[in-house]
């Protein structure tokens, strides 16, 4: 396998460079005797090693991406390529089959037409493999020697190594940010395609949701793409029912843990609560669909609501609320604990009881942090998918009755993308528009929440 060989070359030569540079730096130290070197020998060693490893790895990365293209090109340049069918799909399958056999991933060809390409493929792959190795070795040696020759007793290897390490760390932190931009860009692109077919006004303000993936994609019925019922279901389940459960329970548990709990109790209650945050949401989904939803329906029947559905917004919201408790409680816990103890002492010294102190001093002082925690919890709840998929139902009802089935934005995204429709159809593309709206809302909530937390921190530091 070509990439692995390239990586081995990079690290092998890097190690060699490290040892050589270290030996040389040691000899400097012996010669210069009492005179101090600008950097310790290990830094000289790392300097050379980084100069070998980084360019070689960069080349390996580029080569791994570029080599398959070069292989295809050279195969297509052969005279057999002229006999390939014109039609894209058949052409692709013949080529990929030949490639699989040539690289040893498949035993023999299924389509006889592929047979004559196996040999050209094998040749091309081997050729580019050897070229890649040769270039990697040249780069590694070139950079290694060039950097090795720069070593002097007064060479400031340490500052250079540290600067390089900093650059690597910066790159690592940029990956997540750039990915976010990538996600955003792809969402925006598909969303614009959707809005080219369906009027954004119909989408954002329409009250009927019933996309038909089998309809004629060139002439979509905009009135079937009204997303208001989905937004309502999302808010009702995630921001209303779930929060009615999560805010009081989360806040009370935070107050208990920070103010009343004996350290021993806190030592096991807090981690247990945090484990809740690690339970896969699909497991909560089972619980909601198989235990909570039927129980709610039976209870509703017994008090006379015969219209109660076996999938209900209430079941999904309740279970989601339980899932969110750890988020609310851990944020509230942190912000109550961040209120200076002088505040608490001051109140107690006034003759306030513990509960007066909590209600009138600690919670108001911690309120910005608590609000931020709740906002983060909401943004998580409205983005939550598995529980609503399993327990809330699929019907886009615009109703305030929590016993009825409702559907959410996330559920419809799943439904639209896993259906039969093609990717050109507005029903499928609507998933991107929904995702875009959801993304913007949660992004906004997180942004505001983080700002609030930041201002709150500044107030006490």
């Amino acid at each position: 396998m070509s990439p692995i060989t390239l990586f081995l070359i990079a690290f092998g030569l890097g190690l060699a460079g490290w040892l050589a540079a270290r030996a040389k730096a040691w000899s400097f130290q012996q010669e210069s005797g009492a005179k101090r070197m600008a950097a310790r020998p290990n830094y000289h060693a790392w300097y050379v090693a980084l100069w070998i490893v980084i360019p070689t790895l960069a080349f390996a990365l580029i080569w791994t991406l570029a080599a398959p293209q070069l292989v295809i090109q050279s195969v297509l340049a052969s005279e057999a390529a002229s006999r390939l069918p014109e039609f894209g799909f058949q052409r692709e399958s013949i080529l990929s089959e030949a490639r699989a056999v040539a690289s040893g991933n498949a035993g023999s060809v299924f389509n006889p037409a592929a047979q004559e390409f196996v040999e050209p493929f094998r040749e091309a792959i081997n050729r580019y493999h050897l070229i890649g190795i040769a270039v990697a070795v040249v780069i590694a040696f070139g950079c290694g020697v060039a950097s090795f020759l720069r070593l002097r007793p007064d060479f400031t290897a340490r500052t250079r190594v540290e600067r390089t390490v900093m650059a690597i760390l910066l790159l690592a932190s940029l990956v997540a940010i750039l990915t976010t931009f990538g996600i955003f860009a792809s969402l925006v692109f598909e969303t614009f395609r959707f809005f080219g077919m369906v009027n954004p006004i119909d989408f954002l303000f329409g009250t009927f949701w019933g996309p038909d993936p089998m309809s004629n994609p060139d002439n979509p019925d905009g009135s079937r793409y009204g997303a208001i019922p989905l937004f309502w279901g999302t808010i009702y389940i995630g921001a209303v029912i779930a929060m009615i459960v999560a805010i009081p329970l989360g806040l009370m548990s935070a107050i208990y843990l920070t103010q009343y709990a004996h350290p021993k109790v806190r030592a096991w209650v807090k981690p247990t609560l945090e484990i809740l945050a690690g339970v896969p949401t699909v497991v909560y989904g089972y619980f909601a669909a198989l235990t909570v939803a039927p129980a709610i329906r039976d209870m509703a029947y017994s008090v006379g609501f015969t219209s109660a559905s076996s999938e209900s917004a209430l079941a999904a919201g309740l279970v989601m609320g339980v899932m969110i408790i750890p988020f609310v409680s851990s944020m509230a816990d942190d912000s109550i604990a961040a209120v200076p103890s002088a505040m608490r002492d001051g109140s107690l010294a006034m003759g306030a009881t513990t509960s007066e102190t909590i209600r009138k001093v600690l919670v108001p002082a911690a309120l910005p942090g608590i609000v931020a925690g709740v906002m983060l919890a909401i943004s998580r709840a409205i983005g939550e998918t598995m529980i609503v998929v399993m327990a809330a139902g699929a019907a886009a009802n615009l109703t305030g009755n929590p016993l009825e089935a409702m559907t959410t934005v996330t559920f419809q995204i799943v439904a639209m993308l896993t259906g039969e429709g093609s990717f050109d159809h507005p029903a499928t593309l609507s998933a991107f528009a929904l995702g875009f709206v959801l993304f913007m809302v949660t992004l906004g909530l997180n942004f505001v929440a983080l700002r609030v937390v930041k201002r709150f921190r500044e107030a006490y530091e």
Partner: protein, 262 residues
């Protein structure tokens, strides 16, 4: 062990501690301290860092209760009543024995609400007019009224450090305590703010029994009439401030006030 200066004529004690020891876990922080705190004077506790003077101060309104590992032995009385019994309600005790802390700690509320906090929780003022009156009276007594009367709704944390500390004193006064404990109230303040606080302590002297812990011997000499010198958890010497500073009996007191250590 404790030397009581012979010139000290015992008057009636507002608070009396008898053989008080305080432990943090197994560590003994205060070793059998006995002292009478008079009602009409300012009493200063001086001594080097870590000598236990703040710890002892905090036993007088049971603020050590908030530290789980702290344990108090001995007898502490307020007007002859043991404050460490279950019959003594700690909430009532702290309303009678107020406290001002080392760092100004106004609540993150308005100036008005900072003062109104205590009277409201203790039910001393119910109507708006009553609360208004308590707020004005307390701020006047703390010498802060003229500076803040036009911005009572501003946050208490927006005041300067010295103003914040006077706000905390006003807050303590608002519940009409009998004793005010001050734990190094000027250590976070500049000299001008310090001078104002000292002036305020002088004004309050006589109305309340005041106990002040201080690092600064000059401050003790300026504001107090009684001084107790603490060292290594023990109270070494206690007497009139003038006697302690001019004519100490114990060698350790002499060494401390002449600046030989601490």
């Amino acid at each position: 062990m404790t030397v009581i200066h012979p010139n000290l004529k015992q008057t009636e004690a507002k608070m009396r501690a008898s053989d008080v020891s305080v432990y943090y876990g197994d560590k003994k922080a205060i070793d059998e301290v006995s002292i009478d705190i008079p009602s009409e004077y300012v009493t200063a506790f001086i001594g080097p860092s870590g000598c236990g003077k703040s710890t002892f101060l905090r036993t007088l309104n049971r603020m050590n209760d908030t530290i789980p590992s702290a344990r108090v032995e001995g007898l502490i009385e307020l007007d002859g009543e043991n404050i460490y019994t279950s019959a003594m309600d700690v909430v009532q005790l702290r309303a009678r024995v107020g406290m001002v802390f080392q760092k100004p700690n106004p609540f993150p509320k308005s100036i008005y609400d900072n003062i109104a906090y205590g009277p409201r929780i203790h039910g001393l003022a119910e109507t708006k007019d009553e609360v208004d009156e308590v707020v004005e009276r307390s701020l006047r007594r703390a010498g802060l009224w003229e500076e803040v009367k036009d911005r009572l709704s501003d946050s208490g944390t927006a005041l300067s450090g010295g103003q914040q500390q006077r706000l905390c004193i006003a807050r303590a006064i608002a519940v009409d305590p009998e004793v005010i404990l001050m734990d190094e109230p000027c250590s976070a303040l500049d000299p001008i703010a310090t001078a104002k606080i000292e002036e305020l302590i002088d004004d309050l002297n006589g109305r309340y029994a005041i106990v002040i812990v201080t690092h600064s011997m000059q401050q003790a000499a300026r504001v107090s009439q009684r001084t107790a010198f603490f060292h290594l958890g023990k109270m070494v010497e206690y007497g009139k401030t003038s006697d302690i500073f001019t004519n100490p009996i114990e060698q350790r007191t002499q060494d401390y006030i002449t600046g030989r250590y601490g």
